[in-house]
């Protein structure tokens, strides 16, 4: 398994919103095209360090950001 996890969103706006919040909290995140093995969607997903998984998801839950799903990249 890689060191990265990825969060999928229902809208691009939520992905951008999450990136902005997490960069402000100094997490190492990057917006990437949605990996095809995870979804047929044509939008963007947020990649993060899997070590930060719990803290990253906590930030988004507390900010009430709508997320679709969280995955560890193979």
């Amino acid at each position: 398994m890689s060191q990265y996890g990825v969060i999928l969103f229902f809208t691009t706006s939520s992905a951008i919103q999450s990136e902005k919040m997490l960069l402000k909290e100094s997490f190492a995140v990057k917006l990437i095209p949605v990996p095809r093995e995870l979804s047929s969607d044509c939008g963007i997903a947020l990649r993060f360090d899997w070590d930060d998984m719990e803290r990253v998801t906590l930030v988004l839950v507390e900010a009430k950001v709508e997320t679709d799903s969280v995955h560890r990249l193979p």
Binding site: T11, S13, A15
Partner: protein, 382 residues
Amino acid sequence: MIYMDNAATSWPKPPEVLRAMTEVLERAGGNPGRSGHRLSIEAARVIYDVREEVAQFFHAADPLRVVFTANVTHALNTALLGFLDSGDHVVVSSMEHNAVMRPLRYLEQQGVFLSIVPCAPDGSISLQDVAEAMTVKTRLVVIVHASNVIGTILPVAEIAAIAHSAGALILVDAAQTAGAIPIDVQAMGIDLLAFTGHKALQGPPGIGGLVIGAGVDVARLHPLMRGGTGSQSELEVQPEYMPDKYESGTPNIVGIAGLGAGIRWLKHRGVDAIRDHEKMLTNALIDGLSVIPGVKLYGIGDSGRSMPVVSIAVSGKRVSEVGQRLDDEFDILCRVGLHCAPSAHKTIGTFPEGTVRFAPGALTTLDEVQQTIKAVERITRS
């Protein structure tokens, strides 16, 4: 040239707005939310940042409930056609623009019931009349924040309270006020705020928006258009997620970037400082025009209770003649006629002739106002 038509669109635009618009195409020219490469992501970031700017500017809680539209007409149509069903009752003022009246007259043919609360000739409204127009079937009150003909500001917060106590929502047409006077959608109780970017917000034409409050159940607000959103592409039904539900098709990123720069320019200058400047110009216009023999002034005559929009008639002269002479002989640009608001002109008693409308703006000077007064004075004498 003296530009006195800021109620139609503000001009000139701050240089920062023009710069932001060219810069966004150079720096962030991708299709936001569609492709996932860096230019696409950067475009999406620009749009999200402006969404947040708009939400903060109007004190809206959730930036994802700021929906971008082509203009305020598009925003009003989204709210009216999306929210109202046959059998619903709507309360509306008699000072509305056709951007409200035409969709409502269409909906009336589809079985929506309309009550039009008559305003006084100075554009003011009686809160008691509004309260008495409410019925158990009233789902929406639609109100213009300030008249585009005479500038009179309506008491939106008080009308919102009346609407809510009757179980209805309120939709506010802020075409003339957004950017010119402070708007706090939460404190004022505004459920749906329709605005345009190209007037007091200093942005370009082609961009506006609808701010949707927490009290609006978006499941009951149908989108005007359906199509590609970049999200949930595997589905052939429109997504319900905000703001994608109402934003099908490639957005106007150039307009959005210009709107964002306009808002930042306003925040830097200060909405209150600009308001004070425009009140000073309005007072000068009212004082100067009201003493000219043969000039009749419409409106409330109080810059504190109106926007910088001053309408006049000149006795013995057609409004079109006055407008053309101001343009040809004095290089002064204003707007004459009915201003797309026949109901408002009927209310103030100027239908079907209309008025000559002067609308100074944030960048208008006192000298320009004084030259305008002198020009009107000369036109009345010859």
